[in-house]
Amino acid sequence: MADDKHTQPEVDRLTGIATTGHEWDGIKELNTPLPRWWLWTFYVTIVWAIGYMVVYPAIPLISSHTVGLLGYTNRAAVQVELAKLETQRNIQAAGLADASFEQIKANPDLNRIALARGKAAFGDNCMGCHGAGGMGFIGYPNLADDDWIWGGKPEQIQQTLLHGIRWEQSPDTRVGNMPAFGRTGMLKRDEIAESVEYVRSLAGLDVEKSANLAKGKEVFAANCASCHGDEGKGNQELGAPSLTDAIWLYGNSRAAMTEGLINGRGGAMPAWSGRLDPVTIKALTVYVGSLGGGQ
């Protein structure tokens, strides 16, 4: 029987379906094969997969991979797309480069482009210190409030962005230091305490009952008024903040104010000229102004 290959297959009596001849513990497997269309679809996918491996990069090698006949890579495709995007951006940027801040503000399209570009650049470059949305941290100014240490007009913001603050590599950087009155011995400890109380009285903060405000005023007039003004209103030319408002870059506790007087203050901001192109800096200016404090 073994030599006759073309015998009739065994048919299951109950279902009338041929069996495969396989038997396990008396249970016979029925031959219920796959539909033809299913099988062909399966073969087509195999052929497709082989073709795919030939045409596209597919097999990882030790330090590289097979290249494929088309020479396609995702990375190159992304580069092409990015280049396209950059070209398109440059067309938009051309309009931005020539426009004044007034013109940008008056033109909704330019304004939209500037804000979008500025927002992206802010996320990449500024958020690390100034926080998301320009919310600021201790020592890093909040850009969404209405207080500006070096001025909040577009030209002033742009100047700050271009040349930085206390950034020695840039010759045009903004300079102005809060001296270390305590450490250098310019003011004695009790004079510092008195001027702290006086400044608190200017800002409407709570003042020690025993404080000698008259003495504090004297110290203030002699040492602080030259930068912060006689009334403590500040001077944006020198980056001297107003001491009368509700905004305190380093906090308004006695400890923070005393520390400022003893050790001085002078945070730095990098100059972005040379690192970012002028159009991006312009866009950043518009964006920073839009955060809430622009003048």
Partner: protein, 485 residues
């Protein structure tokens, strides 16, 4: 019953076929009531499908004048007087619910009439079979032709059939893409080979699926691909009308002569003469006499076939008919059958249809043409200003669903001395910032709200921003939180 032959074990696995050859179904030509209904529905259905994109509907300037249009580029759906925005896609959810429940109701009343008369698979297969019959003749001729060796005549017939099939399939895909762009323009662009690449791709895909599904797979789609037969079997009951073989009348089967003899001898005699006409005409190749089954799409063609035979042999028609299990059972024991089209299940389905349909119509009739969304800036949540007051910033998006430009005024209501500055306002009116929103678009502005510290409590405070159309009078108000330290 014949005894199966003695088991012969396989000796070589190569003998086992890898696939099951599907027996090819050769439906026979048939005429009668249900065939006429099917032709009628086919003509109406296809006329709607092919001609609807060319129906025009004036919506004024700057808007497409195509009655039914899915505009992906501008993200709008137009249906005669209705224009839907992407955020109103829930209407389609409603439509899907309606479609499902209507299908259930149809099933509870008259079984799978969707499958038999309206399903595109059935309609296109019908048309393709008509073409096949034109080129290759009726059932017997087709079986003979398939068995015959390849001759010039066979090649010509087969080629002609496949060519017409492909033409129909191509038209099917061609009509499909017309729903997604201005139809007359697209037809011209397609003819001059200037249409977008995607149009050709979609025509290609639909040509292929139509040709394969309606030409080659046919009943395989109903038997193996479609989920509805499985669901339907679970939803049907003994009161639903189904295409049924009235076995109470048909059994026992015997020839006309035998039946005559049996009746004369007052022996039981069935009307079924076992002529297999019902099987021959069946587009899915089932034997309805085995009862309701998955393969039966209930198109009623076997009713037409059986009626023809019954008329010929002088027996009453409708041995196969739309009937209920309950009625057949009643007749079998000599009772008068009763029909219950109104029962708990049909009432429930009808109620759901009325409810969902009513809700959708109400929604559509009362939907707003001015919309606003308000998004509170999260970083920073609030800002302290120099004078100690607190500011929160919001992004406001105004939605104008009208076809004309509108002037929208924003006003704010909240704690004492609340003030608002709008970045992106075009003008002011009575100190209110005005925003111009172009027709059929949205406009985003940033709203800076400042409130003195003294009128705020720590944590959440409530503000209300109101957008009002200066001329049409439509308003939207949104309440939002204002956060203070």
């Amino acid at each position: 019953m014949t005894q199966p032959s003695a088991p012969v074990p396989y000796t070589d696995d190569d003998d086992i076929p890898l696939f099951a050859p599907t027996p090819k179904v050769y439906p026979q030509k048939v005429s009668g009531t249900y065939r006429r209904i099917k032709w009628g529905l086919l003509i109406v259905g296809m006329a709607i499908y092919y001609l609807l994109p060319f129906v025009r509907w004036d919506r004024g300037p700057n808007l497409p004048d195509q009655a039914v249009l899915v505009d992906f580029e501008r993200r709008r759906f137009y249906f005669f007087f209705i224009e839907l925005w992407p955020q109103e896609v829930y209407y389609f959810t409603g439509l899907l619910i309606l479609a499902a429940i209507i299908l259930f109701l149809m099933n509870a009343l008259a079984g799978r009439i969707w499958c038999g008369y309206l399903c595109p698979q059935t309609v296109w297969t019908d048309l393709f079979l008509r073409v096949e019959r034109f080129f290759e003749g009726d059932r017997r001729d087709r079986i003979k032709l398939d068995d015959a060796p390849w001759t010039a005549d066979k090649v010509a017939r087969k080629a002609g059939k496949h060519f017409v099939w492909l033409m129909i399939a191509w038209w099917t895909g061609g009509a499909w893409v017309l729903y997604f762009a201005d139809a007359p323009t697209l037809v011209r662009d397609l003819a001059t080979l200037q249409a977008p690449f995607t149009a050709y791709v979609w025509i290609g895909i639909l040509t292929a699926t139509t040709y394969i599904l309606a030409g080659h797979l046919r009943e395989q789609v109903c038997l193996h691909m479609c989920p509805w037969p499985r669901i339907q079997a679970a939803l049907t009951d003994e009161h639903a009308l189904n295409v049924s073989y009235r076995y109470d009348r048909g059994e026992p089967r015997m020839s006309v002569k035998e039946a005559k003899r049996a009746r004369e001898a007052e022996q039981p005699a069935g009307d079924c003469i076992d002529c297999h006409q019902c099987v021959a005409v069946c587009p899915t190749g089932v034997d309805i006499r085995q009862g309701s089954q998955l393969g039966c799409i209930q198109c009623g063609l076997c009713i037409d076939a059986c009626d023809t035979v019954m008329t010929k042999i002088g027996r009453p028609v409708r041995l196969i008919a739309y009937d209920t299990d309950e009625a057949i059972k009643a007749r079998e024991v000599g009772q008068t059958p009763t029909y219950k089209p109104i029962r708990a299940r049909t009432i429930l389905y009808a109620a759901i249809i009325a409810l969902v349909g009513g809700a959708m119509v109400y929604q559509l009739a009362t939907r707003a043409f001015l919309g606003m969304s308000l998004l509170h800036d999260r970083t920073p949540l609030f800002v302290t200003l120099r004078d100690g007051s607190i500011r929160n910033t919001y992004t406001v998006r105004l939605i104008n669903k009208r076809t004309e430009s509108r002037q929208i005024a924003l006003t704010i209501d909240g704690p004492t001395s609340v003030a608002m500055e709008v970045q992106g306002a075009t003008a002011t009116s009575d100190w209110r910032p005005i925003i111009t929103v172009n027709p059929d678009t949205t406009q985003e502005v940033r709203v800076l709200v400042t409130i003195p510290r003294s009128s705020l409590q720590s944590g959440s405070n409530m503000i209300r921003i109101k957008a009002s159309d200066l001329f049409a009078g439509e308003t939207v108000t949104i309440a939002e939180n204002f956060f203070a330290p």
